[in-house]
Subunit: 584 residues, 2 copies
């Protein structure tokens, strides 16, 4: 229907007869001539409907309103002297309309196209209007380009994309499953997959060697700004490889994706041991766009005269005393503000937040009386303090202190505007513990139970695993591991997780079977695609990069209120469930 | 872990130290030296473990069994004179093993790798072994390459891939939905999408202009050899376009997909009106790898002296008399065989199957007595009969006759071996009726209710639509249409389908809304990807191109028996359903 997209026209087309299609972005009658800004996905071009040129076109133009859909043809001409619009790509030209077709009309809009000051409920109800603007289109265009770049890179590296099923057996992966009652097998149900993990491991057992998939996954969890119940991940698995091989593939994929998104990122990314990330940044996904590390001052505090501090500091296995320095903080923050920071860390379990100001005549603060001169100097040295700095201290249980001091570090960085929004700071976090203790004293797998441990026969607290996370600007983009490929090791892991033999057989029999018939060494990674695109498009919500998102309060009509069942569906669903219950 | 894939090694690598990984395909001890055929996805290479070269490797090789997983390094050498294996790509060389690692062992297999004479139940139970052969791998590799080619072509043409949701609102699309009870909205449920149809139309309303997706779709229907409850389709939609534009895009995509699958196909494909396909081939998806059309002989039969035939032939609106000629059939089939063909067509509603043999002295057969000489000549002329030919006749209700004569045509072609399995005969079937009558006298949309009619105000039987199917070798690969973009036309179509205003509002309110706010003219196509790959890989079942398929009798452990619910899940599911029922 068209010869050009609106924004493809320029001075080069002057005198050409062209035909364009699009929406009326705006219109105005100026001295008996109607000017229409016509918009398509490429941008805007100006139509001129002058009764002197074509009476019929002018008359039609007269009834045109915003968001009417037009097809217009005519000759391109230069705008007159002083009439060019430098804000518009096509601002030097206009189309003298010779033929105009109104392809569709539009009712008055519930909100202006591109208006951001509209409640989310309304925007989602009219999602087709909410998306009708170039900023949204460009995000989805980038998402598409990124997925294609990812696929082409992996294809080039010898990976093949295999589609794994959506209607699967429920396997315990931590989150709640979406369940689909079966009609063919009354009394049973399918689960929607939380990840293709076990399928890709089976494909490795099939000798497929290098698998990938941009896969839809599901978790029936409550919604958040950065979480949707259905999400997309780049899922990769390969055989006969080491952690370094997987990391290299991950870096190549990310590099090429970021390239089509307009970022040159350099590889290899730095690596940091889990332990160092926790100790120095209080997080397993440190934001390295700024430094400001936590400094361990346990040894100094152990020597203090304050019994509480010294007893905390003494138990270096269970507790931590961490310091964080704010350069020039004493000149930036008032004393009152600094005291107020305590409210922030208390929310995350802190009992308090001590701080020292560095004055011309030395450290100042209520706690200094507990330290002798040498140890105060030691603090200055260890924390690299200069006059005007402030240093904050957190003391208590290791897990709690690392957590709130890590959060406090981010809080300060935001307050001090330390974060360069244009930086892309990648990091591999490696050498994860295999297990973590639950509140009830039992253990869970830190990554998942299929991760290869380094030393399965050691004390459970000391067992590490060949697992790795990729972090960007403090966001966990993805994670992976080398998997267990031997059934005896897999069984030992299940034992540590208190899964007895019967349960192993029932839930994971097929996996133990697969590992017994020549499973190759293998490993892989999964990268959250929605989150990735959220970062490359600098979106504030994951909902900006999902065409039809869900929210707790509102949703698009087609995804929102799931439907009410009609009688027949109801009867069948009820039957399915009653069968489920009966055999229970 | 490896320097080369097994099959990448050749004479060019002689004297190189290489390292390969893979599975023991076979092994033999030959005069105190162990020869192992090691297999990976690329193929096979021979390892030689000679105690004279390396004692430790030889000892390990001694305990190796079929499907053990090995890593082996050593020097490549030429095999001795007369020892080359021309059947093997690497048959000229072998690796003298210097270091051998057993990466994993294998229990004795339930069946030999690649063995086709194994029951489907066993093969699916051990799907990871069933897929462990190069033929399977190559099918999935082709599937992956085809998907990438499809995406790159559409990207090049300016389309963007947008992911539409899996948890959606139920919309009536003909088949039964899979239902997912909602936890967040008690008493309601999601449906898994039967296609992204309405989502892609909304994206057109957003001005996205050119959309595609390789999308997972779901239908809760009984399984067949060529049907799975979850399937994949190439889904395309574009704005401001005509049927010709969509057809051109479809052809470009198919051409590029077939190219990576090893077929050069030529475009444009021929087109045939729905009416001609039905009249001449008794099918809306004619197999054109052979000709053998149905010939209409109603006018001649109308003049016959047989009252039954003449009265059938007289009503040209309701009935048909069709002939099909078999060249040289009188010399190929015995009279008894020809009589026996009646049994075939009776299965599809025929009352009988008359035939004439063409002998030296003219037509022979019990029916000739009803025709005068001129009409017998007319039959010979119209059907282009020669001595030795046979011509069969079907008479009765139009729908029934076209159906069974179309099937009979395929039956004969198979019997006569007329089908060249290497041919790829594409066809567009166009100009479909908009509606078709149901048995109860109501009407359904032949494509779907969103298809643009040409003449909505005409008699319902006469309304045609801008719809098109693409057919390959008698298989419907896909179909599409120009959609309705005006709400008044959409409402008229709903009325013809007896959907009253309340129901329209409840079920399709969001669509009618979207069409009222400047919906552009748009249309698209959906192509069945599983079926496409089934054809390009010459597979006999769709299950051969799906990694983890489902069957009625058996399935892979991970997709098979959907799980039984545990108590907590049960309670929750039951609660969800009871809530559904209560508000009913």
């Amino acid at each position: 229907m068209r010869t050009h997209y609106c924004s493809d026209l320029s001075k080069d087309n002057v005198e050409e007869i062209v035909r364009v299609c699009g929406w009326v972005n705006s219109y105005r009658d100026h001295g008996g001539v109607i000017f229409i800004d016509l918009r398509d996905k490429s941008g805007i071009v100006q139509l001129v409907c002058d009764p002197a040129d074509n009476k019929k076109a002018y008359e039609l133009a007269n009834i045109v309103r915003n968001e009417y859909v037009l097809k217009a043809s005519g000759k391109v001409r230069l705008r007159g002297e002083g009439l060019t619009n430098s804000k518009l790509k096509t601002g030097e030209i206009e189309i003298v309309v010779d033929e105009l077709n109104i392809e569709n009309s539009s009712k008055a809009l519930p909100f202006m196209i591109g208006d951001k000051n509209v409640g989310e409920e309304t925007r989602l109800k009219y999602r087709f209007l909410d998306l009708r603007n170039s900023e949204s289109f460009e995000k989805f265009q980038m998402r598409s380009k990124a997925a294609i770049a990812c696929r082409n890179t992996l294809d080039k590296l010898g990976f093949i994309e295999v589609e794994t099923p959506m209607l699967t057996r429920a396997t315990p992966e931590g989150a709640r499953d979406y369940l689909v009652p079966s009609r063919v097998y009354p009394g049973e149900f399918y689960a929607l997959p939380q990840s293709p993990q076990l399928f890709k491991q089976l494909l490795m057992c099939s000798g497929f060697d290098k698998y990938f998939q941009i896969a839809k996954c599901f978790r029936d969890e409550d919604l958040r700004a950065d979480r949707q119940p259905e999400f997309t991940q780049i899922d990769i698995e390969m055989s006969f490889n080491t952690q370094d091989d997987v990391i290299k593939v991950g870096e190549e994929v990310l590099k090429d994706i970021f390239k089509v998104c307009g970022y040159e990122i350099s590889t290899p990314f730095p690596r940091m041991a889990y332990k160092d990330a926790m100790e120095n940044y209080g997080s397993d996904k440190p934001d390295l766009r700024f430094d400001m590390p936590l400094v361990d001052v346990s040894e100094i505090f152990e020597r203090s005269n304050n019994e509480i501090f010294s007893s905390i500091a003494k138990d270096k296995k269970k507790n931590r005393v961490k310091a964080i320095k704010v350069e020039n903080g004493d000149n930036i923050f008032s004393k009152r503000e600094m005291k107020g920071f305590e409210d922030f860390v208390r929310k995350f379990g802190a009992n308090g937040l001590a701080f020292f100001q560095v004055k011309e005549d030395g450290l100042k603060g209520p706690l200094i009386k507990f330290f002798d001169e040498k140890d105060l100097d030691e603090i200055i040295k260890k924390c690299d303090l200069k006059i005007g700095d402030v240093v904050f201290f957190g003391a208590g249980k290791k897990k709690t202190v690392l957590d709130y001091m890590g959060r406090f570090r981010l809080f300060l960085a935001e307050k001090l505007n330390l974060i360069d929004e244009n930086k892309m700071e990648f990091l591999w976090v490696v050498d994860f513990p295999m297990f973590e203790e639950n509140d009830d004293g039992s253990y869970s797998a830190m990554h998942h139970p299929f991760t290869m441990p380094n030393n399965i026969d050691d004390d459970i607290e000391d067992i590490t695993s060949i697992a790795y996370d990729v972090v960007l600007n403090g966001v966990e983009l993805g994670g992976g591991s080398i998997r267990i490929h031997k059934s005896d090791i897999q069984q030992k892991v299940f034992q540590k997780l208190s899964i007895d033999e019967d349960e192993q057989k029932e839930k994971f029999g097929f996996l133990l079977d697969a590992l017994s018939f020549g499973a190759p060494p293998h490993g892989g990674i999964a990268i959250g695609f929605d989150r990735l695109i959220m970062l490359t498009t600098k979106s504030s919500s994951i909902r900006d990069v999902i065409a039809f998102p869900k929210t707790q309060r509102a949703s698009c009509p087609l995804t929102k209120a799931p439907s009410r069942a009609n009688d027949e569906q109801l009867k069948e669903l009820g039957l399915r469930i009653r069968n489920l219950e009966k055999r229970g």
